[in-house]
Amino acid sequence: MRNRIVLLVLAVSAAGAIAVAQAPPSRPSALRIPFESYALPNGLRVVLAPNNVSPTVAVTVWYHVGSKNETAGKTGFAHLFEHVMFTGSGHVPYGVHDRLTEGVGGSNNGTTSRDRTTYFETVPSNYLETALWLESDRMGFLLDTLDVQKLNAQRDIVKNERRQRMDNQPYGLVGEIVSNTLYPASHPYSWSVIGSMADLSAASEADVKDFFRLYYAPGNAILSIAGDFQPVQAKALVAKYFEAFPRGAAIVRPSASPVTRATETRLVYEDRVQVPRLVIVWPTVGKQSDDRFALTVLDAITAGARTTRLTKPLVYDRQLATTVITSQDSDESAGEWRLTITPRPGVSLTQLEAAADAILDTLKTEGPTAEEIQRATAGLELDFVNGLESNLGRSLTLADGLGYDNDAGSFQTEYQKMMAVTAADVKRVANKYLAKGRVILSVVPIGKVDMAAKPSESTPYRKADQ
């Protein structure tokens, strides 16, 4: 059967025709998918994105709460709570959620970040109402059936998750160490999303209930639906299942900001690894600043493809490293630009650090070439389009836009800003952010602190708790 549905207006190639090869690469002026957003009287914001390419529908519920809403001593709470949300609610016995999503050919999951918690399911389109029944029941009636046994079971599972992802994972503690170090202890990004074992043990049933009542209310939530449905029908169902819930209390949000650091911090951490690794992290900016776009392009021209600034000399020409990875993470309240290098045998982390610094200094002085910018943005363009292809990707993207920017369509502006980044922008942000106030972490095999970058200047990192 031929797919005849052309609901999507995606003006990706302005040129369109294949024959215009001699013209300079044309940039799409806009990236559009059909959607509408509105709010219920109780404050629940809703976005609907019809797309009938396949008979499925993705439902995302986005709550504006993450690990940054926790307090020291109660870390890991937002994520532990995410697990509790899958244990059943007032009218939905435990297990039914899976039965009516995965058990009907769909899927479900949840994720917790520093800033938000999302719950999502993709189901056959005839199960849209079922998905709304499930999501509304845990928004409205979770506490009806929550007890300490359920909490304890999820606590054990989360501890296993921590073991599997971090404690038993080579280099698995890098993220937590960097967060602990890059941010002052008072900053809510200074602890890991998964939290400490001690705090997980201390979480009480009362803590969980208070957390739910404050954060899991319509006024703090977004419902995003993408896929094969009729908007009129979807709106009626949304009203039916969600409009009776009270808005919820006003939330005082932590006033976290990007950090700046005057001096370098140099750490060494002994891990159960055979190969050392060098991690350098600079504090940058998150969603509050458009500099994040140039920082993302900087990341793309610095490492990855074999022509990039660090990968070419370190992995290919001089062969000092097996891998070089960079990333710009743009969270709601702050950002980080990270460089991770794994050495070839016999190459010291000190040598790699010096080599990387020299290359970055050159980049800061010269700035990138026009072609480097072109290469980077061409790849980012495909990433944008790919991210919108699945119903789930679409519902998550639209929810993020509404949640962070109060505009479900903010991906369009982000796309335009990303494509408009210039060499001068990249040079400016490289000089502004890749500065002295960085964290340098050497991960070394146990007993081999002398393998650290500049070992005599490195302080051993000790975990805050066990």
């Binding site: 609901l7 809403n69 199960y127 079922t130 599997q164 404050l214 009776a244 005082v252």
Partner: protein, 483 residues
Amino acid sequence: MTHRFRLIVIPAIVLALAGAVTLAQGTLDRSKAPAPGAPPMLRVPAWTRSTLGNGAELVVSEKHDLPLVSFTITMSGGYNQADPAARRGLADITAAMMSEGTRTRDGEALSSALQLLGTTVTVRIGGESGTIAFQCIAAKFPATLDILADMLVNPAFPAEALERLRAQRLVALVQARDQTSAIASRVFPRLVYGDAHPYGQNVTEGTLKAITRDDVVAFHRAYFRPGQALVTVVGDVDASAAKASIEKALAAWPRGGEKPAFQYPPLPASRTSTIYLADKTGAAQSTFAIGIPGPPRSTSDYYALQVMNTILGGMFQSRLNANIREDKGYSYGVNSSFAFGKGPGAFRAGGDVVAAKSDAALQEFMKELRGIRGGRPITDEELSTAKDALTQRLPGTFASAQSINNAIVALWTQGLPDEYYQQYAARIAAVRREDVVRAARQYVDVDHLVIVIVGDRAAIEGTLRATGVAPIAITDIEGTSLQ
């Protein structure tokens, strides 16, 4: 100092408001799940088959909702057919070498050209098939295709690149020793199939070091041939224009080659169930891999096994995960699967378990494996959920150009008819409870299991032994017996 909000004050207000909900809900009865509407029709996209001038098969499927194209050339056969035992890793290195430059573009020029097109061409060779593929913006399809053809037909295979790729893989092998799950994924197949069977052979330092540039050149010449290839293109293309572009781009790919026979040596004689404990000092979790050789994909028991495994360990609420993760809290997740290859792909159940509960988890694994063989009757609910899950997930698999492409390729690599997806639901519906139990008894042979546990021997050996589940053999982290 950042502001700290107080949790204590607010909930009382919310609680008061919550009281009003029940009243306002009035007529809405939430006590029952809403009845689903009529199931959506399965819409399998249309595609057209033809043959290229060089003998490769071609399938084109148009999809115009987004300006994206997914293009793949799939080769029949993989490292299990093509890698000599003493040069395991040759297929993988050859695949990587194809991105290292062509006769007219060196590695950097190739990388730069692809970056400007916003994409990458990936070359991967798996156990029984290999692919060279890309996804791109539709307007860039012909230009990207030309580069893929250059990589396929004219690779330069520079000697210095071989040394670099070899060195990177040697480091990766060392790093694999750090992770219990990576250790288990080497030890388990080796113990199940033995060193003489391709399924049991691992890449080692020795096999990597044995590979020469001549091996790479010869592998490429013998493996990448149109007579064993399927070309698939899905997305925003016109079928006839796409075929013309492909014919032109692949004109220099010489005819020849045929699909391999997929003949495997006999399996080693089955042994009484044994625990193979590979010591990883200090591991906070133990990785479990419990299994036995299974049937090939062509087995007539395929559908019964799909239903059986979905009940046992294919989903979140399947017996294994419901018990060991959700009820007992020993793990972040456990599952089971059949590999279903051209040969006797393994049945494997496992996951990562907190070290202190290794013994208890072992007993629960064994309980569930015995249970599915009849010890714990399969309920109507289990049977219908498994069938629903399997059949109703099908419509969603045709959502993206990439997933449609994968679905078409799967028919070819698994030797299935074009109507396979349309027939699938009826095949699953026909599975009876007794078929499921019979399949479990035949294929989940609890008396001849290889039970690999990678963990901290000092912490777990004693309690594992005390379970009496099976005798324990101690191995190193390559699966070589230490006794």
